[in-house]
Amino acid sequence: MTDPIVVLDEVSYVYQGADEAAIENISLRVMPGEYVAILGLNGAGKTTLGLTLNGVVPTMLGGELQGSVHVAGLNVADYAVREMAKVVGIVFDNPEFQMSQQTVAEEVALGLENAGVPFEDMKVAIDRALGMVGLSGFEDRSPLRLSGGQQQRLAIASVLAMRPQVLIMDEPTSNLDPIGKSEVFAMAGHLNRDEGMTIIVMEHEVEVMAEFADRIIVMDHGRIVMNGSPREVLTRVDELEALGLRAPASAELASLLEKDHGAWTGPLPITTEEAVESVNRALGVTT
C-alpha cells in the first residue's frame, strides 16, 4: 500500500505572542496525487496549516508547535525551509509581490539559484517548469507585463522548478479576473491529472472546488471539522451554513426544494451538470 505523502499527527500551533492556538490538534493524511481543498472562514487556520508543511511555521515565525509533521517521509522539524522548498511549493494570492526579476526566465531561475542548482541544469528546469504551467515562449517577457493569471502561473512555475511533490495554493485566484481564475484552476487540474502532483488548495469558491477536488476539508477555529469527498461534505448544507460557509448553489437549491417544497428526492447535486440533469428529471423533462 502507498504511504501518505503528508502526515500531520496531533499538530497544534500558537503564534508568538498569541493567546489562542491558530491550529489545534490537527491529524491529517494526504495521499500522493490527491487534490485536496481546504475551506473555512478567514482566520480558521488554513494558511497556518499550509505553513507547517514547509516549516515556515515554526522555523521562521517562532511560536510553539506541538505534534509532528511529515512530508514525503521527511520530518519537517529536521529540515531548513529552503530544503523543504524542494518538497513542498507554496503560492499565495498576490503573485505580483513574488515578482522581482526582469524576465520570466530569471524569475524562475531565482528560486533555483537560492536552492544551489548548478547553472548548467537551470535551463532544463526552467523550460520544464514554464511548460508545465503553459508559459513556454514567455521566457524573455517582463513579469510585470503579464496578465494576472499569467503572473500567478509564473509564481507556480517558480515553485515547480524545484520539483516539489506537493503544491499548496493559498487562495491562488482571489485577486484574479474570471479568465485568470479559469487559467489557474485548469492548469492545476492538468498538473494533478497528468503529472500526478499532490495539490492542496485553500479556496472560498465552493462551486469551483466541487468540480476539481478529490477531497474537501473544512476548518473552523483551528480545527478540522469536516473531512470527506466533495459529495459527503458539500451536501451538508445546514452545517456549512452554521459555520458561516456555504454549499454550492446547486446543493442549496435542492436542499431548499426538499425542505420547503417537499419537491426533491435523491442526493443533492454539487455541480451545475448534476443539477441540470436532476432538475430536468424532477420537471419530467427529457433532454
Binding site: D93, S174, A249, S250, L256, A275, N280, V285
Partner: protein
C-alpha cells in the same frame, strides 16, 4: 448644486489615453446614473472598469469628453473637491489607509469634511458594529488581517456618508461571512438612497444586490441592462469570458426552455421548479 431631476452621474463620449505607451483605456464611453441606482460594472481586468471609476472621482481626467458628477465637471475640480460628492473605496486598502488606529481611520473622513464631533462618534460606532470591527478599533490598520483591513477601507468611506459610493472589488479575499456583510451594506445603502457603483468579478454578489449591470470589454461599454438580461445572454457571457452565477446557468438549462423565467437566486429558482411540478401533477390528475 445638481438639478434634482437630472442624472447624478453623466459620462459623455469619454475617452482616456494613458500618457505612457498610448494605451487607450477608455473609448467613447457613455454612462448615465440616476440618484439611488445600484450599478455593477463587470469585465475582465484591463477592460476599462477601474479607469472608468477613476474618471468618476476625478482621479483621472478624460482625455476628451465630459464627466459630470453631482453637477460638478470633474475636469474643473480637484480630487479633494470631488471627494465631497463621491466616496471611492480602493480594491487594495493599502492605497487608502494611513491613520494609526482603526478608530482614527474611520474618524478621518467625516472630520475632514466638517461633520460635527458627536455625529462622527455616532457614525463610527455604527460602522464598528455593522462591519464587526469592535475587536480591532485600537489596532493599527496594518496589524489587522488583509480581509479585515479591506472592511476598514470600506467603513472609512461609509462614515463620510457620501451621496455616491464606488466600491472596487469589495469582496476579493473575503469569506462567505464577510461577503454577506458587503451584501448587507449595499442593501442598506440602497435603502438610504445612496448611489452605489460596484466593480466586481463576484457575479453571485451582483446578481443579489444590483439593479443594473454595465459590461465592459476592450475599453468600451458593450452592454448595460438588468442583471437578469445580462446573465441570461449566453453569447455576451461567452464573448466577455464571464460566467453567470451557477443558479442562473441552471435555470437557463432547466426551467427557461420550458417557458420559465431566468433566475438569479436560489429561492427564486426553487419556487419556479416547485410550481412547475405542481402544475405538472395537476395536469396529470385531470387526465382521464
Amino acid at each position: 448644486m445638481s438639478d434634482s431631476s437630472g442624472p447624478l452621474i453623466s459620462v459623455r463620449d469619454a475617452r482616456y489615453v494613458y500618457a505612457t505607451g498610448n494605451v487607450i483605456a477608455l473609448d467613447s464611453v457613455n454612462l448615465t446614473v440616476h440618484e439611488g441606482e445600484i450599478v455593477g460594472i463587470i469585465g475582465q481586468n484591463g477592460s476599462g472598469k477601474t479607469t472608468l471609476t477613476k474618471l468618476l472621482n476625478g482621479l483621472l481626467k478624460p482625455t476628451s469628453g465630459h464627466v459630470v458628477v453631482n453637477g460638478a465637471d470633474t475636469a474643473k475640480h480637484t480630487v479633494q473637491q470631488m471627494a465631497s460628492h463621491i466616496g471611492y473605496v480602493f480594491q487594495n486598502p493599502n492605497h487608502q489607509l494611513f491613520a494609526r488606529t482603526v478608530t482614527a481611520e474611520l474618524e478621518f473622513g467625516p472630520r475632514n469634511i466638517g461633520v460635527p464631533a458627536d455625529e462622527i462618534a455616532e457614525r463610527v460606532a455604527k460602522a464598528r458594529d455593522f462591519f464587526g470591527l469592535a475587536d480591532y478599533m485600537d489596532e493599527h490598520p496594518y496589524r489587522v488581517s488583509f480581509p479585515i483591513r479591506k472592511l476598514v477601507g470600506i467603513a472609512s468611506i461609509v462614515t463620510m456618508a457620501p451621496r455616491i459610493i464606488v466600491l472596487d472589488e469589495p469582496s476579493t479575499g473575503q469569506d462567505h461571512r464577510t461577503t454577506q456583510v458587503i451584501n448587507d451594506l449595499i442593501r442598506r445603502l440602497r435603502s438610504e438612497g445612496t448611489t452605489v457603483i460596484c466593480v466586481s468579478h463576484d457575479m453571485p454578489l451582483l446578481a443579489d444586490v444590483v439593479e443594473r449591470v454595465v459590461v465592459m470589454k476592450s475599453a468600451t461599454v458593450i452592454a448595460d441592462a438588468s442583471p437578469r438580461e445580462v446573465f441570461a445572454d449566453a453569447e455576451l457571457m461567452a464573448r466577455t469570458n464571464l460566467r453567470a452565477p451557477q443558479i442562473t446557468q441552471i435555470s437557463l438549462r432547466t426551467v427557461v426552455p420550458q417557458g420559465g423565467d431566468v433566475a438569479l437566486g436560489v429561492p427564486e429558482l426553487a419556487d419556479q421548479i416547485s410550481s412547475w411540478r405542481s402544475r405538472q401533477s395537476d395536469r396529470r390528475e385531470v387526465r382521464p
